[in-house]
């Protein structure tokens, strides 16, 4: 069953992906046959206007939603037919999310926020503390461990979110409009951080509607009306 053609299975393998939504009697097809291969270490931007299906792609890639048709393999594992508990485990161990709204819990310190994925993974307290501190140092917030999100700037909050995405050593970092709520300085901050992570060999998929942001990636996948319009290496 192992694939001898390449030493490592692709991180993302989407084949003939279709997604139908039904609302009453109206059926809407958000994805209309998408094939996408992303290998380890790639830095890919999925770009398109609103309604193009990029959010659906993000949900499917993040195991937050399942396909109507086609197959999705994440790091060589088929995620079809998994129940909520199994999907939760996959999200926990293989995916690091970065959201537009940061989604930090306001009542917890930066370090506690970063620890959360490890809490659900059942990592012991001591190890959790160590890894969350290392992860926050990695994003340049080693001196903000005990600050709550409300005491941090938008850029800093998003870096905390990136630290949280990194802490579980996931196969894939999935960023959904990560700079959508940031000013230009903070945007540069966060994008520079993604550049660094890419240099360090992380696999990053970034969903955006801004060309400026997409151009920081090494490969740009343009989607429109649920289909891939163009898939090209970013020359810049």
């Amino acid at each position: 069953m192992a694939e001898p053609s390449s030493a490592v299975a692709p991180v993302i393998e989407l084949t003939g992906a279709r997604k139908m939504y039904r609302s009453g009697s109206i059926e809407f097809e958000a994805l209309r046959g998408i094939d996408l291969l992303i290998h380890e270490g790639e830095y890919v931007a999925v770009m398109g206007p609103s309604g193009s299906g990029k959010s659906t792609i993000m949900n499917v890639l993040g195991c937050l939603d399942v396909l109507s048709e086609g197959a999705y393999r994440l790091g060589g594992q088929d995620v079809e037919d998994l129940d909520e508990t199994e999907l939760a485990a996959i999200r926990n161990q293989r995916i690091g999310f970065v959201f537009q709204q940061f989604n930090l819990l306001p009542s917890l310190s930066a370090q506690k926020n970063v620890e959360l994925p490890l809490v659900y993974a059942g990592v012991p307290v001591e190890e959790r503390r160590e890894r969350s501190r290392a992860s926050l140092e990695r994003v340049g917030l080693g001196d903000r461990l005990q600050n709550r999100p409300g005491e941090l700037s938008g850029g800093q909050q998003q870096r905390v979110a990136v630290a949280r995405a990194l802490v579980g050593e996931p196969t894939l970092i999935l960023a959904d409009e990560p700079t959508g709520n940031l000013d230009s300085v903070s945007t540069e901050d966060v994008l520079a951080l993604f550049d660094e992570l890419h240099e360090a060999g992380r696999t990053i998929v970034l969903i955006t509607h801004e060309l400026e942001v997409a151009e920081r990636a090494r490969r740009i996948v343009r989607v429109r009306d649920g289909q891939i319009l163009r898939d090209e290496v970013n020359a810049a």
Partner: protein
């Protein structure tokens, strides 16, 4: 996520909305306190009533004239007939026919007024045989009781209840004084020790005279009849035997062959206690039911607040799910939160209930009995209420789809 963290997370969520949590807890608290107090009051009243009835005399059987069986429709007049006589009391005293009967006292009484100087006091004047003191478990506080000789000679002597003495003379130190009953002057030879009051009569407001004296002077007509005969069994285990003997002796004396046709009724303390107890039990059950309803309302309050909490924290739930919280972990977190609310209400409610149980007897004078079992049970019930009413909100939180949850504002 281990239990310690789940508890910690739930506790922080409760602390985040202090007022709301306090009000929710209050609903449970009041319900639990009400249940503890009503059950305690019910048990306390039962205890009081049994104590009062036992105070009438131990191992006591009470024979009343007439029959309470009304199957024939004509015989009746329970307690008002004149079918019991002094010779019945004598027959019951026979050691041969009734070996399990230790003592017999006959009683007949009337309401009349006693006069001392210009003080006039109406009380129950009771003619008794001289074994009365022992059979009714009474004692004389001052002076002495009349002797068998005074009893048979119809001496004009009276023993007063403590309250009667107080009312007539303004003091209980009255031995040697004289009091007028009807048109005859009696000398006071003793005062009874206080025995309190039972449900139907004041045991301290009485004037006791020898039976023969009463028959002659006070009550007059039907000199041989008595209103009640008290029988003391040799001990509690022989009460049953004493009952049988009393019945056969009296049936024999009245020449009645069938016990269904008896013109007297024998009742025991046990019967009185169980009647009174069952009345109070019914009341307790009723009141506890009402208190339990308030607990139900408290539980609905918990559910309401948990639903609000789930709605408010939809984003948080979505995030936790996105980063890997399985539905079970979310469910547990909300269940624990509801359980903490319930348990806090239960513990505080128990504290309030016990405090009220300590204060209330002082204020209203009836005892409240708090059993440890009731305490433990009500705390367990409050925990169960939190869990039961937390199930639906927790299930709702666990079912939320992470994408929808994350998008909510």
């Amino acid at each position: 996520m281990n239990w310690n963290e789940t508890l910690h997370t739930s506790w922080s969520a409760i602390r985040a909305h202090t007022l709301r949590s306090v009000l929710t807890v209050l609903g449970i608290l009041i319900g639990i306190a009400a249940v503890i107090l009503t059950v305690g009051l019910g048990l306390g009243t039962q205890k009081d009533v049994s104590a009062q009835i036992s105070a009438l005399g131990s191992n006591l059987l009470i024979v009343s004239p007439g029959s309470s069986t009304d199957s024939s429709g004509v015989r009746g007049g329970f307690g008002s007939g004149t079918t019991l006589t002094l010779s019945d009391a004598d027959a019951l005293s026979s050691k041969v026919n009734a070996p399990d009967i230790a003592g017999v006292a006959a009683e007949k009484s009337t309401q009349t007024s006693l006069v001392y100087g210009d003080t006039n006091w109406t009380t129950t004047v009771t003619g008794v045989t001289n074994s009365w003191l022992e059979v009714r478990s009474r004692t004389v506080a001052r002076g002495s009781f009349f002797t068998a000789a005074q009893q048979s000679s119809g001496a004009r002597v009276v023993v007063l209840g403590s309250e009667t003495a107080q009312e007539l003379f303004g003091s209980e130190n009255v031995v040697g004084q004289s009091v007028t009953i009807g048109s005859t002057t009696y000398s006071v030879i003793g005062v009874l020790a206080s025995a309190g009051s039972n449900t139907s009569s004041n045991l301290d407001d009485v004037a006791i005279v020898p039976m023969t004296t009463a028959a002659d002077d006070v009550i007059g007509t039907n000199t041989a009849s008595v209103s009640t005969i008290y029988i003391q069994a040799a001990d509690a285990d022989r009460l049953r035997a004493a009952y049988q003997e009393a019945q056969s002796v009296l049936l024999n004396a009245h020449a009645i062959s069938n016990s269904d046709d008896a013109d007297f009724t024998i009742s025991s303390q046990d019967a009185l206690v169980s009647t009174a107890t069952s009345v109070y039990q019914t009341l307790t059950v009723l009141l506890t039911g009402i208190a339990a309803l308030s607990l139900l309302v408290g539980g609905i309050g918990v559910m309401n607040i948990m639903l609000v909490s789930v709605t408010e924290r939809t984003r948080e739930i979505g995030l936790r799910k996105a980063i890997g919280a399985p539905p079970a972990a979310i469910r547990t977190q909300f269940l624990v939160e509801a359980a903490i609310l319930g348990l806090t209400g239960g513990v505080l409610g128990s504290v309030l209930g016990v405090a009220a149980a300590l204060v209330l007897p002082v204020l209203i004078g009836s005892s409240v009995v708090i059993s440890p079992v009731a305490l433990v049970l009500s705390i367990a019930v409050s925990l169960a209420i939190g869990l039961v009413f937390g199930v639906y909100p927790a299930a709702r939180a666990a079912r939320l789809a992470p994408i929808d949850a994350l998008r909510s504002e």
